[in-house]
Symmetry: C2
Amino acid sequence: MLRLSFMVGGRNMSEALVIFTPSGKRGRVPLGTPVLTAARQLGVDLDSVCGGRGICSKCQVSPGLGEFAKHGVTVAPDALSAWNAVEQRYKDKRGMLDGRRLGCQARIMGDVVIDVPPESQLHRQVVRKAASARRIAMDPATRLFFVEVAQPDMHEPSGDLERLADALRDQWQVDPLIAGPHALRKLQPALRKGNWGVSVAVYRDHTGGPWRLLDIWPGLYEGGLYGLAIDLGSTTIAAHLTDLTDGRVIAAGGIMNPQIRFGEDLMSRVSYAMMNPGGDTEMTATVRQALDALTHSVSVEAGIDPSLILEVVVVCNPVMHHLFLGIDPVELGQAPFALATSSSLALPARDLGLTTINPEARLYTLPCIAGHVGADAAAVALSEAPHLSDDLVLVVDVGTNAEILLGNCDRVLACSSPTGPAFEGAQISSGQRAAPGAIERLEIDPETKEPRFKVIGCDLWSDDPGFAEATEKLGVTGICGSGIIEAVAEMRMAGIVDGAGLIGGAEQTGTARCIPEGRTHAYLIHDATAQGGPRITVTQGDIRAIQLAKSALYAGARLLMDELGVDRVDRVVLAGAFGAHISSKHAMVLGMIPDCHLDKVSSAGNAAGTGARLALCNIAARAGIEREVKRIHKVETAIEPRFQEHFVNASAMPHAIDPFPELAKIVTLPQVSHNTGGGEGAGRRRRAR
Amino acid sequence: MLRLSFMVGGRNMSEALVIFTPSGKRGRVPLGTPVLTAARQLGVDLDSVCGGRGICSKCQVSPGLGEFAKHGVTVAPDALSAWNAVEQRYKDKRGMLDGRRLGCQARIMGDVVIDVPPESQLHRQVVRKAASARRIAMDPATRLFFVEVAQPDMHEPSGDLERLADALRDQWQVDPLIAGPHALRKLQPALRKGNWGVSVAVYRDHTGGPWRLLDIWPGLYEGGLYGLAIDLGSTTIAAHLTDLTDGRVIAAGGIMNPQIRFGEDLMSRVSYAMMNPGGDTEMTATVRQALDALTHSVSVEAGIDPSLILEVVVVCNPVMHHLFLGIDPVELGQAPFALATSSSLALPARDLGLTTINPEARLYTLPCIAGHVGADAAAVALSEAPHLSDDLVLVVDVGTNAEILLGNCDRVLACSSPTGPAFEGAQISSGQRAAPGAIERLEIDPETKEPRFKVIGCDLWSDDPGFAEATEKLGVTGICGSGIIEAVAEMRMAGIVDGAGLIGGAEQTGTARCIPEGRTHAYLIHDATAQGGPRITVTQGDIRAIQLAKSALYAGARLLMDELGVDRVDRVVLAGAFGAHISSKHAMVLGMIPDCHLDKVSSAGNAAGTGARLALCNIAARAGIEREVKRIHKVETAIEPRFQEHFVNASAMPHAIDPFPELAKIVTLPQVSHNTGGGEGAGRRRRAR
């Protein structure tokens, strides 16, 4: 082929300058180079599934004619080749924004600035809803490619898989390729139906190794590929069904962990396994069935075929980790609390009882940090990244065990504290999982002692007009974790509960909502018994459960602070699988967390679940957290005498936090008359330290 | 540590010369070096499972005092350190041959010659029973190692698996290690029961990659590790349970392929899959269940726990390959006969329905050569190695399809020929699988026309004294593949059958054993109806089935000879899953194979099964055959007009093979009177070509 080339003013006139935005990457390419090719040569993040065949439209670009001045480039009107028939066909069939071009069709004919819109970036970033400003950059382990495969030749026999592997190597640098029986089964019909053009979903571990064929479709596949991020807690299981191409959560669901019937907290489940031969396998089967059912129901909710779920990421504490994997957790119940394995695992999801999703789907578990500090803590570390913080940050992820991280870019410590399931609404008389109908917010008027609340599934407060009608179908069914924290803190602030945690009677508190219950009192929030509904109260037992839980949480945090030799932290991040984000104010009123400026306390929602999603969407995140957990210093609460000491000293509920005027403004603290002062004293002791 | 070193006559007197036999490897090592350490440094093949801890005794050696003259080395009586307490304890407990030492205990104190007996060689060679002199050098993918693992430390938490991986890396250079859920489940109890000393079975693919933990035992495991070599034929399935440490076959078993009910030959099974939606999955389930049951029964026969089976190698034709893997074989029924995959596969055995063996067991299938030339042909190539032959060798492996290889070290051709199941005793009126009670050898007296025979399970001939008693329990139940070949050939030689394949009546043949059956005749071999047993005959239909089968076989061989442009081969190897080795004489009388000197025709038994065993015992064999199959030139019989031509011309049964006087001596050929000469003519035409 003859190619003419001439120089004008020191420039090679057979080449053109191309600048891509927003990356700013630039370079000179031969005239006639397709934009997609130029993008690849210059390392610009421009997506393509069909490999430049003009059928997938993932490589849409906007010639940035308006940008030239900024970049000092003169863009001629004919800097790109003319709109062509392939583009017109695509636009007629599926529509395309005016001004857009297909990067594989438009050829560079002169100096040009080309904008890659976010949806055309393969590694596009997804804004998280959470307070933290970090984003998820998409780089999943599972990728979709369109390839054209050579047809079989009887005289040079070779397998269809081998020709597919050749095509993937030549067209996408995907090499080598392996396949399991389920994918192999679909291979031959797909190739023939697609007339030797197929879309394949292939997976590669972040540790390298071969690419694995997960699924195959005839022609260009335009449906979705999904992953499931699972936060497998002792009490609740949450699943986020996530689009693997753009990171969107398309459905979320949760259920109670059915293992609760073997014991409410982890140690009672370990005991069950020790006392009952086969008890661990029974618990394994139970949790796997629950996950399988949850997977199915989330798929139904999203309206997708569950076989399109190709990846699962699971985070959980060490006991759940072992029980889910089918390992007897007995060693986790006694010193030295040895994990069977602390590494991350990449396994066939099918081997762990996930039968409704794609039979070739892969499952990844984050690494565990120590015998009591699990993959859930690793996920929180991934989500909240204390190791990247300049400030000294305390991250508490509240569940049946609280995962607690303290540190900054110099050093990170971690421990786990057995708070029990009260913060998840379990072991609470009117408690329930965070689900529609559950009270998730609550306020008590300090004057009238009357409550108002919000339930999950309704945006109105209970004293707003129309609340009764709006919740007629939902009902008001109980109190979830965030609701009980607010309820107890509000009761304390309204003087219904004293510093030692005792609920006053009607004559002490001045409200008929304080009703006798046995030898103690309960506070009535909502009574729907006349309509056949529940009567929702906070009992003295509920207050005790919350006191135990918050003391454990506080003690764990203090232990890490002792270990680091600090008496204050710069900021606090509260996370957990609550109904709503936990309220900083109420957490501090309860004494869940050490003293800190209130505006330095933030809520991160379900940080473990977010960590699972990060790992699902980005393989570099997997590699990163695997490195990081090795650097985290673990503190074992179970054998640390100071933990008990902190725990005992932390049971009271503070009434004012002197160093912080912004809190004092919020907290008004009438004393109930039966308060003996012991609880207050404990509170003072703690604050004075 | 201070080390004294001085030189005498140019030699460093702190070192000694050690020579290992039979390898002849030699070198100088520091005085005090254990023999095992010296062996490793010099690359001598000396086994050890316990890594030099004096507990496994695998490293036994014989100080070769008698050898010194030959090697010119003066061996002092104290060339090895004194017999020590560890050796004495081992000898007392388990016994050890006099003169033997433990290589890990005996230290080299002076120049010495050390013999490594065969049983102490890790890659010891196993003599095969087959005629071929090649041996199997043991080098299995699965290995056993004893390791001492560091105990957990609460203050530096790490998983038990991670510490096991560290130990395997440091003590055995096994790195990296991965583990599935079933092995992980056994890890913690084994480590504690073994007081942190465990034996592990680990597997590594011949393509490299990580080591996989398959199983684990507390302390030094002294039981067996087993593999299963499976020849999965269209009609019969044969399994050889093999000791992975020494290659011994400890049990063998076979069953009929239950897929026969979907069609006797491969093409009828492909048709079944095409005509019946879900038919392929039905056949897949059937064959997997059969393999699972066979695996179990072979384990019972050997008296081993099936969970000790850690590896399975499967060889089969392409249709069985696809059906076993769960792939619809429909593409194999039509040109261009595209395989879903032609590569070897390494998969979890559990994923293919093998549920009774170790849940972490691995399964390897040999590569397929072409759409009609499968992993069974690859196994025959591995076993008989035509590519290493200087002679031009024709290898025929007779089954329901015959796998045919022709070539030498320059070039190898392969094809498959649809012989039908007659050679396996199926579609034969009194036919049966090669099992106890089946007639496997048969002779007919040319004068009296009386038969004598042997059955599987009894060493006596039927006319030997005591035969009736010896077979009373067995019974004489039918004729297996090798028996029917001998029966038809003997009938031809005794003049009971003419050259066209017609059985004469009693008046023509002069024996009352030729009995009328419909419009044709049958030859009576054995009548046990009086005792309630079967009446075993060879019918005219049986002769026709054998004629069709042998014509197909012959035509396939001729096709390859045409392709190579030769009219003669130097030698012929006959293989197949017969009852006994196929008789060269009878095969040639039948015209199964092209003319060849009778002493150049040998029997190789079940060559495909042997190839499977080779692949099971030696990972280099897997790599080797994967390379080799890519070089084999494939010839497609189904689309080759000359195949039909050869087939039609080959139906007659020759009566004398002139060029070979040694055959003429054997074959006496009285003509039966109804012979019209047509068959003879065909036979002559064929030979004259």
